[in-house]
Symmetry: C2
Subunit: 426 residues, 2 copies
């Protein structure tokens, strides 16, 4: 038995224990089961982080955290000077979402380490398991905050100096309250040099229906769709809902309603099934039944696997916002493209390693595109990247009904373990 | 000098002091000046109530409160067995509104008493100054809560047993925390018998631009438009904003946006300038940028001076809600007409008294319709009713820019004082 090599039969995942951990992590939530709400640097986030560090410790990993709370657990390889191989995901959860998004890629990666250890394997390159800070944009409106900063975003670095949440708490104060960012100016310490990792692989639920529909165990991601997010504010005259007659109104709420429908229209006009657009946030001010909205705020998410096509949608949405404002006599006070990220392409040799791993484990698999974005999108800027998808119930995600079976999760963990093993020996 | 008669020259209003009171009352607010936010039974509402009772005391009125916190200050007449004459309004203020709506009719009525006393007048019928509880629907979604209950609404009585605010605090618990509703089943004690008052007159800012535009001092209200309010809930599939492709969506947020625009369309179709409709509240759930809305909630206000025409709008909005739900594959989970009140007509003899008072005071005046509703709408069910309007800046209301000049307010108080004097002698 060559302990640097690995036989697929030796990879035994403790699925039952992994499910227990998933269920336990889900209880650290601001909303009751089956929903999960875990927001960056809140009490439940801090408790959940403690839980992850404990599991990393039990898996024999040496744990460190960076200045924004990205957590790293390292299994040192026998050639520790080589660039390590990494895997990881996030555990933050948007309001009223489910317990598998992100979590499978963190707890599953830790279990992949346990699996490799049990098999007797010893890695050549070190293996890092990463829990990324705030993949979800819930609190500060910034998605993939941790991985984006690791990837060296100077724009984000700058933005974090002035970013506040909707309670006007600054990012830095929030981070400090959770024990991070102790030195104000040390956030560049989060940056990773290009080449810091030899490979990065993320395990994740598909968040789409394809694998379940086709009865396939493993999705091998070849590209991640390019997301953009936009914040829009309209300002109008407001006034009393009884007293201001219709011709004298400049209703900021109706401008928002029109723009929401325009987003849908422009997305459908793209003609491609791959273009999507969503208005997930629409707030009216003052928000009283007998008051004409004087302000409205929308947050728009649009994505495509084709960056140019997506940017065309953004352009049309902007044109609509301007023409709606003009027609209604309201002011387009803000049209802010918060992020407009390019898509990411998986690394060929990682794709090959994932395919071989699936084949050796006799698991059906297919190449596919990720329509949701992930920390992998940003890790791709500093490391060769790949992603492993597993089926999930009806493609549901970001809601309490989100579910993946123990069997499918265990299959994913086995493919991840074997892929990490292969990549670590290179 | 006959002290039961009154000469218009003797009516001296202390406008400066009245303005001071208006400014002081505005500081009892949950939001900073110039905005006012004063919500039923909150700390600032309780403080403001204390302030009103103090001013009533200083005006020599004997104060009592009923079980929901309607406050009455009485100046006993020399024939105390006759039905009294009353005046009053509200001091609650919707979020981020102004300092004159309602307040002018409470502080102004108290000042009308001071004015009458200073003139040496003695009333035959007793005079009651009333501060009504929660004219605005802010906290419990029920407009004119105090006057509606005084008018004997059995429907409201029943509803209050189960009504909760958006923090799930029951009406009864909230009332108790403010010192009211001490005995659970005593809310029928709020009911007034028909004929309890010989007349009710409310002083109020116009909340429209007509008096200011035409340079007229006094509006004499002949009718109050009929308001209706509707709550609507849509429920859809929700899901991840990246992963769920457009054809598979059932977006409850877009259904809400469509209905908001349909409300505007149906109102405009009425063909009458007097028909208005507003969506002041539109909430999305879960309210995250990367989540397709799975639920939406709208609150719709529609009014007209023609009840039938308004009800036709409601019917069309209902039809639209159903067809939008069908087309989008979302569920119309609720379409609840919260109230659908008939209009109120002012009493002839009160209108005549208001006209005579204006003429004797040499103030320009015109007959007009109230497009906003008021506690007078409900007092009209138990008492002959009339309303006095004064000009306000650009017709603004329900926003911080709401303003009425000291001169216009003082004119309104003089007309009110003289009208109350006339009515109390009848
Ligand atoms: Mn997510
Ligand atoms: Mn995720
Ligand atoms: Mn009002
Ligand atoms: Mn009012």
């Amino acid at each position: 038995f060559d302990e640097t090599q690995l036989h697929s039969q030796a990879l035994i995942v403790d699925g039952e224990n992994l499910q227990k951990q998933i269920d336990e992590l889900a209880t650290f939530s601001d909303t009751p089961v089956p929903s999960v709400t875990r927001v960056l640097y809140t009490e439940n986030d801090v408790i959940a982080r403690r839980y992850i560090k404990m599991l990393m410790g039990l898996a024999g990993l040496s744990v460190r955290e960076d200045a924004v709370g990205n957590i790293f657990g390292r299994w040192e390889g026998y050639e520790p000077n080589l660039a390590p191989v990494a895997s990881g995901s996030h555990i933050d959860a948007i309001p009223y979402s489910g317990k598998y998004d992100g979590v499978v890629g963190v707890l599953g990666a830790i279990e992949s380490i346990n699996t490799l250890r049990r098999s007797g394997f010893k890695p050549r390159r070190s293996l890092d398991i990463i829990m990324f800070t705030s993949e979800e944009p819930t609190r500060f409106g910034i998605s993939c905050l941790g991985s984006r900063l690791m990837a060296g975003s100077e724009i984000l670095l700058k933005a974090l100096e002035t970013t506040v949440d909707n309670q006007n708490i600054s990012f830095v104060d929030a981070a400090r309250s959770a024990g991070y960012a102790q030195e104000k100016n040390d956030l560049t310490s989060v940056f990773l040099k290009k080449g810091s990792y030899a490979a990065f692989v993320e395990l994740h639920i598909e968040q789409g229906p394809i694998l379940e529909d086709e009865g396939i165990s493993i999705g091998i991601v070849t590209a991640i769709a390019a997301p953009a997010s936009i914040k829009v504010d309209f300002e109008g005259g407001g006034g009393h809902a009884g007293a201001v007659l219709m011709p004298y109104r400049n209703d900021a709420g109706l401008a928002a309603a029109q723009l929401a429908l325009a987003v849908e229209k422009h997305v459908l006009e793209s003609g491609s099934i791959d273009t999507v657009g969503t208005v997930g946030i629409l707030d009216l001010h003052p928000g009283a039944i007998n008051s004409i909205p004087s302000k409205s705020h929308l947050e728009i998410d649009t994505r495509d696997i084709d960056e140019e096509r997506r940017n065309k949608v953004i352009k049309k949405v902007h044109d609509s916002a301007e023409s709606i404002a003009k027609a209604r006599g309201v002011r387009l006070a803000e049209f802010n493209i918060i992020n407009q990220d390019p898509p990411a392409i998986s690394d060929d040799s990682i794709v090959k390693a994932m395919i071989s791993a699936s084949e050796e484990l006799n698991l059906s698999h297919k190449l596919m595109i990720s329509r949701a974005y992930h920390d992998s999108l940003f890790m791709a800027r500093v490391s060769p990247m790949g992603m492993i998808f597993i089926p999930c119930f009806k493609g549901y995600s970001h809601k309490p009904e989100e579910h993946a079976s123990v069997q499918d999760i265990s299959n994913g963990v086995r493919v991840l373990a074997l892929t990490l093993a292969k990549l670590s020996q290179k």
